[in-house]
Amino acid sequence: MSTTERAPFFDEAFLRRLEQLELASRRMTAGRMKGERRSVRRGQSVEFADYRNYAAGDDLRQLDWNAYARLEKLVVKLFVEEEDVTVHVLVDASRSMDYGQPNKLDAARRAAAALGYLGLASMDRVSVAFLGDGEATGMRPMRGKRRALELFRFLAEPRSERLTGLAAAARSYAGRLRGTGPLILISDLMDPGYLDALRDLAGTRCQLSVLHLLAPDELEPEVAPDVRLVDNETGHAVEVSGDDDLVDRYRTRLAEWQAEIAAFVSRRGGAYVAVPSDLEVADLLFDVLRRRRVVE
């Protein structure tokens, strides 16, 4: 990446390391634009399939100037054989994510930046959105490393979302989603509608990967005697008297919950990755996600 502006998330060396990776796409079918992704189907012909509106970052060579002359509208031509996938990265921006040491939302932003950059570096279309207050707020799909700074800026923007409304936000995004490609949801899933959300996202033609992000003290809680736990997102309070028995039961319930999500996602061909927020993004990308074949 060549830019005079400093990237908000990573240094140049790390970005160069990232460029060695690319997102895996096990469910890739026909793309609509010539891309650089290796496809499981390697066709030889160059068969025109359709037009679609020009998006920033599209290869200008694919513009149909004749159509522009007739319609005064920039459109690009789509072909059948060559894959052109969109990488979808969804970040849960609810208040429950704005918590923890390290902060879960910050960790999610970094992970989304890294994954988005992988997509840009692979010349895939990248669509990034924040989920919050029942809506998905994203930026226009983009392509190419030159858009990385724009991506990073978008991810670094302060968020004002309070509630997740995860199911509604996911349904909203899934309804607008076209095409195929990896779909990565980064969330703590602490929302009553988490299963509905996963169901909607898995129901698309995209390859769903769930990065289940939890803070270390959500994974290993230590509760003082007689405290009132106040929900960062809803303000709802729960009174507990911390003892070893209660913590043990919490751990058990957490494990059951994670297993339930993993099974749900797995049944729908997706990948589930539990991610503590104190996990370094390099470890996440080069170790955890590579082992889970989310990246290659």
Binding site: G100, M190, R228, N232, R253
Partner: protein, 654 residues
């Protein structure tokens, strides 16, 4: 249990349990989401203000403490035998000697403590009457079976400045004992010189004697005499040392608040030292003698005197001439003395009637005039009958009988070392009273009134006694002259003893007289005493003062010029050898007041031995344990809450 109502406090036990079941006000801890916690808690706790009661050592200890405190408040007891009857009259001596206080001894506090012991020893259902006794008796609580009320009353008893006289208290006790045959009289006293009644009472008397020290010296007499001419006052001071060791005390004399004399007096043990002070200016009004330093009793370390007024009367001494008598009379500032022999008596009276002021007093030494004088007269060794009575043969070597210490004629006069060779045998007339008599009852000194005139009598020849050689002689003559010639500008004597009441003649137009006694700062119960008494038929009875200090009398009248005018001032002093002798005495004479045979004494009665205090000790110990346990738990909680890294759940990482 004495106070079973206190068991109502047991309702505190379920209240404590309820507090434990009530949800605590917990510390808020922010978490990202309670999503998982809600699922977890829903299974075990209902969202109610109560929670399941869990075992807690703190709860157990608090319940135990509350139960013990309630039990102690109910004042449990068990029955033990008591030496007291069912009806107890508890007399607490509050006379001046009970104010004895040294570094090691607070006699009144000891007395209160003993009195409390007596109340706590009362048999079951017993009643107690508490009487505070100084010169009279005051019932502070009457026939109560409420031990708390009696103890409270005892706590309020304080020593007075008054001389001790248990006559009233025993009269009261006797009346109470007559009403209930099962009675005991308990006297808490130092037995130091209190007067006792002549008759005993029909109940056994127990004495709780308090006190030990005798380290006290006292001003026993203070008298101011105005020297002829009035320019100078002569002060007579006597200091006694009733203790068992010799003492040297510094005597300070103040005139109207200014120090005018100071000297050291050595007073042998059990003796008395006297001092004549001639440095007091004649203009002084209030004179004070003070023993510097501290001893066991402060009430007798200061004494006051009002300087006598400058009034002189002409006195005619008729006789063959006695140098001692002439000197003694000439020294009296109130008298302007003239002397004649028996033959010149009639002429002298005639001369005075014609050319000079009349005589105010006649003194007959060894003779009796043919005609009774019409002015006050003092007869010494009369050789014939007179208005005083009839005389007969002389009695040889008479023994002076015990004298009344309250007799004003003998104020400051010590006759214990006086010897008389012979005295006249006298039969007093109706208006006369004995002041000093022989052991056989023959009057030796007497005073009285006859035909509206005052008369004095000394029944022996001064030349046949050693009285003129002693300090007592001028004092006796001064007192006799004071009696024969009452002060004309004031109605009060210059000094009174505490508790001494007098009757005074005042202008009949005065309705009432107001008395105000300003006590001496630093004395027990010091303050100001004020009261008014009515004037009846031109006379008023002034009750005895209860405070050492200065007493002023003012008139209250409907007539403006008589209203609020001063009628005089007097000094009030303790001057009680008995009270100043603070050494506790043998209480046997008080015990013997209970004239009842042993068989008639009270049988042993059951009484209550309370054991609330060991319960209170146990409660205190448990409270300490509970406190330590609470802090231990709190420290542990704080340690857990203050982990090395900030933890939103307030815990330390495992």
């Amino acid at each position: 249990m004495i106070a079973p109502l206190a068991l109502i406090g047991l309702v505190s036990l379920p209240i404590i349990v309820a507090f434990y079941m009530l949800r605590l006000r917990r510390r808020d801890v922010p978490v990202g989401s309670t999503f998982l916690w809600q699922q977890l808690i829903r299974d075990v706790e209902a969202n109610a203000p109560w929670q399941r009661l869990r075992f807690s050592w703190l709860l157990l200890l608090q319940l135990l403490i509350a139960a013990i405190v309630v039990l102690a408040a109910a004042r449990p007891f068990n029955a033990v035998d008591s030496d007291l009857a069912a009806n107890v009259v508890l007399i607490v001596d509050t006379s001046a000697s009970m104010a004895t206080r040294t570094d090691d001894e607070d006699r009144m506090a000891l007395a209160r403590e003993r009195a409390r012991d007596v109340v706590e020893r009362l048999p079951v259902g017993g009643r107690v009457t508490v009487v505070a006794a100084a010169d009279s008796a005051e019932v502070v609580v009457s026939e109560t079976d409420d031990a708390d009320a009696a103890l409270e009353a005892i706590d309020g008893i304080e020593a007075t400045q008054l001389p001790g006289d248990l006559t009233d208290a025993f009269a009261l006790a006797s009346a109470l004992a007559r009403r209930d045959s099962d009675s005991t009289v308990v006297v808490v006293t130092d037995a130091a010189g209190d007067r006792l009644p002549d008759l005993g009472i029909g109940a056994p008397v127990l004495v709780e004697r308090v006190g030990a020290t005798d380290a006290n010296q006292a001003i026993a007499a203070l008298s101011a005499l105005r020297r002829a001419g009035g320019a100078q006052l002569d002060l007579f001071v006597a200091v006694v040392n009733p203790s068992a060791v010799d003492a040297t005390r510094r005597l300070e004399i103040y005139a109207d608040g200014s120090l005018v004399d100071a000297r050291d007096l050595a007073i042998p043990a059990g003796q008395r030292s006297e001092a004549l002070v001639s440095t007091v200016p004649g203009s002084a009004r209030v004179i004070e003698a003070r023993l510097a330093g501290a001893d066991a009793l402060v009430t007798d370390d200061r004494a006051f005197a009002i300087a006598p007024p400058e009034v002189t009367s002409r006195a005619l001494l008729v006789g063959s001439g006695s140098a001692y008598l002439e000197n003694a009379l000439a020294l009296l500032p109130r008298l302007e003395l003239y002397a004649v022999d028996e033959d010149g008596y009639v002429d002298a009276l005639a001369d005075a009637a014609e050319s000079g002021p009349p005589y105010g007093l006649l003194v007959f030494d060894g003779i009796v005039p043919d005609s009774a004088p019409t002015i006050p007269a003092l007869y010494i060794d009369p050789d014939a009958d007179g208005t005083f009575g009839a005389v007969a043969a002389r009695i040889t070597n008479p023994v002076i009988a015990r004298v009344d210490p309250e007799e004003p004629i003998l104020r400051f006069v010590d006759l214990s070392t006086v010897h008389v060779g012979r005295t006249r045998e006298v039969v007093l007339s109706d208006g006369m009273r004995e002041v000093v008599s022989t052991s056989g009852g023959n009057p030796m000194i007497a005073v009285g009134e006859e035909g509206g005139r005052r008369i004095g009598l000394i029944g022996f020849d001064l030349g046949e006694s050693d009285l003129p050689l002693q300090v007592a002689f001028p004092l006796l003559m001064s007192n006799l002259v004071d009696y024969l010639l009452p002060a004309t500008d004031g109605i009060l004597p210059s000094s009174l003893r505490l508790g001494e009441s007098i009757s005074v003649a005042v202008d009949p137009r005065i309705d009432r007289i107001a008395l105000e006694t300003i006590g001496t700062a630093g004395f027990p119960g010091a303050g100001t005493e004020a009261l008014e008494v009515p004037v009846v038929g031109g006379r008023a009875t002034i009750p005895g003062a209860e405070l050492v200090g200065l007493r002023e009398i003012r008139a209250r009248s409907e007539i403006a010029e008589l209203d609020d005018i001063s009628l005089g001032q007097t000094a009030v002093n303790l001057f009680s050898a008995d009270e100043s002798d603070v050494r506790p005495d043998d209480p046997q004479r008080i015990v013997e007041m209970g004239r009842v045979s042993q068989s008639e004494g009270p049988s042993t009665q059951p009484t209550r031995a309370e054991w609330w205090w060991p319960l209170a000790l146990v409660a205190l110990a448990l409270l300490l344990v509970e406190w330590m346990l609470f802090h231990r738990l709190t420290r542990r909680s704080i340690r857990r809450a203050m982990g090395p890294r900030p933890q939103p759940f307030g815990g330390r990482p495992r």
